[in-house]
């Protein structure tokens, strides 16, 4: 084991400026292929949930957040292999993009984090800070600034992602019941 402390730690660590932290892991397309390696195509379906469907989700304790969802259907020939949905959640100081793969049995097949961004709490809630990352998913490089720094801390939680995955599973189930997805 070898540890070299940063100079700012040896001085006054509290005075060192806290900087933003960001990692890109996968593009949405890369994640979809990882989840369904046998798929030949991914068809885009725009799902619009009806007011009745939204009420039914609400009764299950699921806030659908939006009536409109973009779902990729993994296809091999004419057969459907499953579904992939892109989503983003915002925590206290973090913005997390992720993709969920759902099998034909309606169960989660895989979850991949696509990007993780963290900054000062107030910035994450500013639309301008979030806008700079819009559209970064498609074909984005795996790393930001070739920086492989790792972050260590106590409160990083995936509660928002877990809630988001539950919401997506329910939305896909509702859309399939309603005949919106083959």
């Amino acid at each position: 084991m070898r540890v070299s402390l940063a100079t700012s730690v040896l001085a006054v660590s509290a005075a060192a400026p806290a900087s933003a932290f960001a990692v890109d892991y996968l593009s949405f397309e890369q994640a979809a292929k990882l989840m369904f390696p046998d798929a030949e195509t991914f068809e885009v379906h725009d799902v619009a949930l009806s007011a009745v469907q939204l009420q039914q989700l609400d009764a299950q304790g699921i806030k659908a957040r939006s009536a409109h969802w973009s779902v990729r259907t993994a296809k091999r020939g004419a057969s459907t292999l499953g579904f992939v949905v892109f989503d983003e959640v915002i925590g206290k100081v973090e913005l997390i993009s992720y993709a969920v793969g759902i099998g034909l049995d309606g169960n989660v097949r895989q979850i991949e984090i696509l990007a993780y961004r963290e900054s000062h709490g107030f910035e994450v809630r500013l639309p301008a800070w979030r806008r700079q990352f819009v559209g970064k998913g498609a074909g984005a490089a795996i790393k930001v600034g070739e920086d492989i720094a790792n972050i260590s801390g106590a409160t990083l939680s995936c509660t928002h992602v877990t809630d988001g995955v539950r919401r997506i599973v329910a939305v896909i189930a509702a859309a399939r019941r309603g005949g919106a997805l083959a």
């Binding site: 730690v9 795996i142 801390g153």
Partner: protein, 234 residues
């Protein structure tokens, strides 16, 4: 020699262990298999160790009546033995029962015994570190020459790379550069406005010893030297 400290790594992340687990492997040294194997290992360990999974050894123990026992998996036993050692060495300062009765459980003859009905176990202070160590071993088994596993701040790096580690500012967000780490583990806890960071050869000890240092307030606690660890209060 510090090679490839930037760039040249395949990197993925998944939500596991109640946090986001970030895994990197030197590209070219192997394909994606080490990363998949590491995620599979962590997923399997979570099923044994998480109190939130009703089928886990820990959740089944928590549901036992006093006087009953169960046979946990080898991974659970290994973590429990380490926890028991720490509990004894710190006069129950390190307590996986979280105040519900450090003397309410015991490992004997490969079985986990429940001695008090009210005792509930939670491996949150040690399980992540253990899972990181096991995941690193799986990556090495699958041919990875260098990389890391970071379970929400409990991290370990292996191979001839120097990994920049930043510590998250728990009050205001953002991250501060803290250290460069080679062939070792690092963990940070946040207690009462202060950060406690520990570096150790194994992540199990880095993870668990942050709690010992935080609770004792002693950054030169004798247990650190016993596990080859260094600690910082900052």
């Amino acid at each position: 020699m510090n090679t490839q400290s930037r760039g040249g790594f395949a990197r993925r992340a998944r939500p596991l262990l109640g946090t986001i687990v970030d895994i990197g492997v030197r590209a070219g040294s192997a394909n994606a298999t080490p990363i998949d194997a590491a995620f599979a290992e962590i997923d399997a360990l979570q099923r044994c160790l998480s109190r939130f999974d009703p089928a886990s050894d820990i959740a089944r123990f928590n549901a036992l009546p006093a006087g009953a026992s169960l046979a946990p998996g080898t991974a659970t036993l290994e973590v429990l033995r380490a926890a028991q050692t720490l509990s004894v060495a710190t006069a129950s300062l390190f307590d996986i029962s979280c105040g519900t009765g450090p003397d309410g459980w015991a490992c004997r003859d490969g079985r986990l015994h429940k001695l008090h009905a009210r005792t509930r176990l939670d491996l949150g202070g040690i399980g992540k570190g253990y899972a990181v160590d096991r995941a690193v071993q799986r990556m090495i088994d699958h041919g990875a020459t260098a990389g890391w596993v970071n379970a929400g701040g409990d991290l370990r790096v292996f191979g001839d790379i120097e990994l920049p580690v930043s510590v998250r500012d728990e009050s205001n967000g953002g991250a501060r550069p803290f250290a460069d780490l080679t062939d070792g583990a690092f963990a940070t806890s946040h207690h009462g406005g202060a950060h406690v960071s520990v570096a150790a050869p194994l992540c199990l000890w880095a993870d668990a010893l942050t709690k010992v240092v935080a609770l004792s307030g002693d950054a030169s606690h004798p247990l650190l030297a016993r596990h080859g660890a260094l600690a910082w209060l900052h």
